[in-house]
């Protein structure tokens, strides 16, 4: 209840003032559908418990999947799963039946600006665009009204949902401007459905209020969409081969090469990483592709997987025995420079795999009534993740530049935690400790002192409000570099599928 000091007229009027019109029901339904499609990918991370009958059915399905992997190979199972799930890189899960999409990205550069349509998918219930805009003078270019899609004069699809993530130029902490402008945006937008028979569309990009000048007003792209089957599977998927038993394992993390495509333009290696329970988002580093001819192929880029960064959690296998460990398979793809057609054997070598270890450890920091910048607080906090021991000896209040993925960098009140335990233990190296942000807190980039090797973790406050006392900090996950090397060998077919007539 609102207090009675104000007149009832004022309170009643306040409620009336803030009564916004109801949102469009079509918008609400479309947003819910998009969210649920994304939820299937984002939220499902662990095997179901056998508490309910339907969960038993899921376990049976998972066991069937494991059997299928063992019988016909993980590559084929993944291909079938991909068709079933309708997962598109950079977009997520969409309904693929009767859907059409771009066969390849389309880009144009002018006046120092590059506009790339990474993908456009027209499904029976929505149209999704992923675009990357990079260049100077882009203020307002990420606006929800900047992209229009039509198929004939006077037609335009109505927008439903919009996400724009700014891209900032890399800089070190010493030389970063206090409020840098983004150098670009990755835009993901959902529109209403395109008419089912329409495969030729025009996408127009306008940069309202930008500094691009008169000639920049509108960029128009004539696009031709193709049935999704030939796009999602891709020609390289069709013309690939699947090595048998191409695997290696260290520290409980398995690496399996499941599919390889090779032609005069590129070599694509599709792989799966298998992690134990509580270990997530494995990522190769120091990856090289080596042929028997001695040529080393450096990865030219990471293939678009999940937001161009993360492997996709493929399936969690349930324990084969009660109480046994669960394992998660992660899909990843790497694009390498072209291989030599005469090479008869290939080797994928990864110096390490970076992985995220889940944690659930919390501890209080007693700040007192008026914590000030520069104040230190002694700690004696120990915990471990996956057998890796971590000790924190001090917390300190500082003011630091805060980098958030969806907002401009800014100065913010921050607590630093000093790690004084060994950074390297048993072939693993501590990279980051993630603190679980609550309410107005946000995780800030950690800092590693190159001379002392001391790692400093940071948690910042979104506002200038004084943190609550005592401050309870929770370790959410710990990122470790797991040393290898993982070395996976496989024979190359004498006649590559891509070379067949």
């Amino acid at each position: 209840m609102v207090e009675h000091e104000a007149s009832t007229v004022t309170e009643k009027t306040l409620w009336a003032h803030f009564r916004a019109p109801d949102p469009d029901s079509e918008f609400l339904a479309a947003l819910e559908k998009n969210l649920l499609a994304r939820a299937d990918v984002v939220l499902v991370r662990r095997a179901p418990s056998p508490r309910f009958a339907w969960r038993l059915a899921l376990i049976a399905a998972a066991l069937t999947l494991v059997g299928a992997v063992l019988t016909i190979g993980p590559g084929r199972v993944w291909a079938a799963l991909q068709r079933w799930a309708g997962y598109l890189p950079g977009i997520g899960v969409v309904e693929l039946s009767e859907a059409r999409a771009l066969p390849a990205p389309v880009a144009r550069t002018s006046l120092g600006v590059t506009f790339t349509i990474e993908q456009l998918v027209a499904s029976p219930d929505q149209t999704i665009v992923v675009a990357r805009i990079v260049g100077a003078g882009l203020r307002g270019a990420e606006s929800p009204w900047a992209i229009r899609i039509g198929w004939s004069r006077g037609t335009s699809l109505r927008g439903r949902a919009w996400m724009a993530d700014p891209i900032y130029a890399a800089c070190d902490d010493q030389n970063c401007p206090s409020e840098p402008e983004p150098i670009g945006y990755v835009v993901r937008a959902a529109f209403e459905a395109l008419p089912i028979e329409t495969n030729r569309v025009t996408l127009a990009w306008t940069a309202p209020g930008s500094d691009l000048g008169d000639t920049s007003g509108e960029w128009s792209f004539d696009l031709e969409l193709q049935p999704i089957d030939s796009v999602a599977s891709g020609q390289w998927m069709v013309n690939s081969y699947m090595p048998e038993d191409a695997r290696d394992s260290h520290h409980g993390i398995g690496l399996v090469v499941t599919r390889v495509f090779q032609d005069s333009q590129a070599t694509v290696v599709e792989m799966q990483m298998e992690t134990p329970d509580g270990v997530a988002l494995p990522s190769l580093h120091g990856a090289q592709l080596i042929s028997t001819l001695g040529t080393v192929y450096l990865p030219s880029r990471v293939a678009p997987v999940d937001f161009d960064m993360n492997p996709i959690p493929l399936v969690t296998t349930t324990p084969l025995e009660p109480g046994g460990p669960t394992r998660t398979l992660w899909l990843d793809r790497q694009l390498f420079t072209p291989g030599q057609p005469t090479a008869r054997e290939m080797t994928l070598r990864a110096e390490g795999i970076q992985a995220s270890y889940e944690s659930d450890f919390e501890f209080p920091v007693i700040l007192g009534e008026a914590p000030a910048v520069g104040q230190t607080f002694p700690l004696d906090v120990s915990f471990d993740v996956g057998g890796f021991l971590i000790h924190l000896d001090q917390a300190r209040i500082v003011e630091a530049t805060l980098w958030e993925p969806l907002a401009k960098p800014r100065r913010s009140l921050t607590i630093e935690l000093h790690v004084d335990s060994p950074i390297e233990q048993d072939g693993r190296r501590l990279r980051e400790i993630w603190l679980d942000p609550q309410f107005n807190q946000v995780h800030a980039d950690p800092f590693m002192d190159p001379t002392t090797g001391i790692l400093t973790e940071r948690l910042a406050w979104d506002t200038v409000f004084t943190p609550l006392d005592p401050l309870t900090l929770r370790i959410d996950r710990v990122v470790l570099d797991v040393e290898g090397p993982w070395v996976v060998n496989w024979p190359v077919p004498e006649i590559l599928p891509a070379e067949r007539p």
């Binding site: 007149s7 306040l14 003032h17 803030f18 299937d40 993740v385 969806l406 309410f439 409000f465 609550l468």
Partner: protein, 186 residues
Amino acid sequence: MRQIDPPKVELTAGEPPSDDDLVGRSRDDPQAFAAIYQRYVLKVYRYAHARVGDTAAAEDVTSQVFFDALVALPRYHARGSFAAWLFSIARRRCADHFRRRTDPIRPDDVWPPPADPGPDSETLGRLRSVLEMLSEKERDLLTLRYAGELSHREIGHVLGKSEAAIKMAMVRLMRKLKALWETQDG
């Protein structure tokens, strides 16, 4: 290393699940996120509309808030209020909206006219001119209370203040509103 198990809740007929129940179930069954969405989408939309001022931008912010919440949901822990957590995201998204604007911000942008003035449009217009005299923080407090329909405790979580501090701030703010209202009478 301890494992986090989502709360397992058996619900009885007629008893609405709590927010934290739904969050816990969402981790096993993503479809449960639909119930969270349906519970909060109108409040978030109204809050966004009150802050950003037009339908398209409010839809934009609402979409971003729920996508952000979905991605961050595995890291949410039931120690405070889910509503407060969600509105913390909404506040940040509204702030982003104004940061990104290139044209000058007009009073109508930060304090839009009511969409449906109702029968007493003169009173509402008078309130609007009173609200324009408030600070940004004071407006934020009112928007969280009346558009977001948050309790004092939830507002406290959003703003990093105690429930008592919010109650006191609200009392003072309502006194100020009343004084400004009476000044207009004079």
